[in-house]
Symmetry: C2
Subunit: 445 residues, 2 copies
């Protein structure tokens, strides 16, 4: 089977890479509410206009603010060893001079949760859970709970502070940032992530005897700030009120430059929409039948405020969204394609998936997992197609300082953009649709 003209054009372009690199290199870190976040919104509007999109605009999002401060950790006994650490999102602060305390290791969230009240009084709890490397993100799903729920469990056990082994797969000294469920907690515990190799050292040192550790984490809460979802469209024609929505998130964690998370996704969805516009223009048409809308969401990392604001603002027109797709899985090749939609749409989905075979992408008949930013839409019934990328290297770099533009893989990004473009165009320009997600498969919060 020959690739479609759209796929061929996509594979001959490296714009998905170039867009992602531009966001990483010209804007860089852009945590919600920061100056970088504002610069990213301006970048997104400018980039969408340069790409020739219609209806380029921002939609306001109020974002909660948390800022990193000084952060250091060290083993002080039995011998001195500096440790690479970063505060988890929404972590509280230690006193300015830090906390020095005995370290108590736990091996699972379950074990941590079962600690009796105040049993860790005056201690620093260290949760040392190794994230397995998998090609589909299951390893992350299986271990990220300790980052999310561990801090609160450590507070309940009376701990003076809490550190985890980074939820990541590389052996190096880049700690992995990420949110903890402490945003709405009064007086949250100081909670950090050690780099994996520093967690290994702490574990090995504890195996030889008692260990004391000093932890200084000085993040702070700020007042809520204004950010925005940035929206642009390739206008439809005969069914222009119906929308194929392609989403990625514009914000990033603050340690790196957000190249693979989620500059890559921004590059994929912007390039997919650009390819569709170019494709219909080359055929002498004004647009596809339905509108293709790109939404670059605010604040995915710190609160999902952008996705929530979008779903709220568009509750009345969600029925007009015929498909939602999200790119937030990094820079590596797509391998599978999956649907979450009406079972009656299986035949239409088979045709779409068949068109992706020249890209080496295989249909999987399990349900797609909608990404974070489109989940509110899917839970309101919007069907979703997931382009599953190889995630085996993604968590080496995810949320670290090392998330920079050199990690982007241009050829793989072109392949993923090709898949997004082909799927979005087929649905936008097709006669039928993919129905709605049955109630039984929705996961309302």
């Amino acid at each position: 089977m020959l690739p479609s003209a759209l796929i061929t054009a996509a594979l001959q372009s490296h714009k998905a890479h170039d867009i992602a690199a531009s966001l990483a290199d010209e804007v860089g870190p852009r945590l919600a509410g920061s100056a970088g976040d504002k610069a990213a919104v301006a970048w997104a509007e400018r980039t969408m206009r340069e790409l020739g999109f219609a209806n380029v605009h921002t939609e306001p999002v109020t974002v909660p603010v948390w800022r990193r401060g000084v952060e250091t950790a060290e083993i002080t006994q039995p011998s001195h060893q500096p440790l690479a650490v970063t505060a988890l999102g929404w972590s509280g602060a230690t006193p300015k001079d830090g906390i020095t305390a005995e370290v108590m290791e736990v091996a699972s969230l379950d074990a941590l949760t079962k600690l009796p009240k105040d049993s860790a009084k005056g201690k620093i709890i260290f949760a040392n859970i190794v994230m397995p490397r998998t090609d589909d993100g299951r390893g992350y799903g299986a271990t990220v709970g300790i980052r999310m729920a561990g801090p609160l469990a450590a507070m309940k056990a009376g701990a003076a502070a809490f550190v985890i082994r980074s939820v990541g797969t590389a052996s190096d000294r880049f700690p992995h940032a990420g949110s903890a469920m402490l945003k709405d907690v009064a007086a949250p515990i100081a909670a950090g992530a050690l780099a994996t190799t520093d967690a290994d050292l702490l574990h090995a040192t504890l195996a030889r005897g008692p260990v004391k550790m000093k932890l200084v984490l000085l993040p702070e809460r700020g007042k809520d700030a204004q950010s925005a979802n940035v929206v642009g469209e390739v206008m439809g024609t005969t069914k222009k009120d119906e929308v194929v929505l392609l989403g990625a998130h514009l914000d990033s964690w603050d340690l790196g430059r957000g190249a693979i998370d989620d500059g890559a996704g921004c590059g994929i969805v912007l390039e997919a929409a650009r390819l569709i516009a170019e494709h219909v223009r080359a055929a002498g048409r004004a647009g596809p039948a339905r509108t293709v809308r790109v939404v670059l969401f605010a604040a995915e990392e710190n609160s999902v405020a952008g996705a929530k604001a979008y779903a709220t603002a568009h509750a009345a027109d969600v029925a007009k969204i015929v498909l939602a797709m999200e790119a937030d899985s990094g820079t590596d090749r797509a391998r599978l394609v999956k649907l979450l939609g009406d079972p009656a749409a299986a035949g239409a989905f088979r045709d779409i998936a068949h068109a992706l075979e020249p890209l080496g992408i295989v249909r999987d008949d399990g349900d797609a997992r909608p990404g974070t930013d489109i989940s509110p839409l899917v839970n309101a019934g919007v069907p979703s197609i997931e382009v599953r990328q190889d995630a085996s290297r993604y968590f080496d770099v995810h949320h670290t300082a090392n998330d920079t533009s050199d990690k982007l893989d241009a050829a793989s990004l072109s392949q993923v953009a090709a898949a997004f473009a082909e799927i979005a165009f087929r649905v936008a320009d097709g006669d039928g649709d993919l129905g709605r997600v049955p109630e039984s498969k929705r996961k309302p919060e």
Copy 2:
């Protein structure tokens, strides 16, 4: 050809790895004159005693002291981007609030040296020289000059501060430390190294227009401190006054834990001597004919003070040192073996090299390059055999925070230790010797 009993025993042991990991994990960073340096000397004495060495003792070395302080860098215009930076050894300090200045890029040490006096007045010079990856360290040799001599050249051009692209081969955000020739300069310039990916970003940003950068480097000079070379021996018998010297350096840079540089070398030479002792003991002998002496040198990284002190203290008995070998090339496999000695010893060397064939090590008839710590001995005539390790990955991690024990490769370290043991034993226990290095091949400072 079957491997010797010594080689077989070496390949069945992982003690070279374990010793290196112990130094990295139980002592960690140990820059000359620091508390870690003192802990390393105590570790070395303890370890040599545990290994059963004779004559374990320290020999005093006065070391100059330089300490890292706060270090940050950022692009401030055209947009804000934090940069990963570290101060070069013997760098001066910026004012406490840093220097913010326009950046001027140079592409070579030659170009920097040719800048007219005061032509960089008020600017930060950025030397962006890409280190090539080679398997033998040539890439380092070809590019390290900018780190050593660049800062002084930048001072002469009137620069406000100086940064280089790290002399390293990985694309990541670990800046590479290392000495600059500023130790004896009054009021030295502030000189730092950017991580390679940050150098790429700075270069790409400069290609788009003028760039301002803020640099804060707050290192300080300390008073000279006391450190030590640590020495232990496997005593010889019939020619016990004659010595085969195996050297590595005990100190490390401060950012990482000195696992591959030079915990690996310490592991290799300590294990080689241990293997020889075990081998003769198994044969019911008291020792090899000649003495095998391990010297763990102080302060290789910041001043070579340990090697200089050793050569000075032993000037009178250098004629009794029949061979000097040094391990300071990391954790990867040995591939070549080379001699620097009396041309008349070529036949003896051929026999030694032949014994290494089961290890996959090939004889190279070019001259060995003596390592830094044994160079003063070689320049006094002591012959040297170089076991050349694959250096293609060494400079990914060299002098960075990422130099930690997880980077050690146990199987490769066993192979290198096997080569050191086989060579040292053959020379220590052999009838002849390797003569002296001809005057024409010595390189006195």
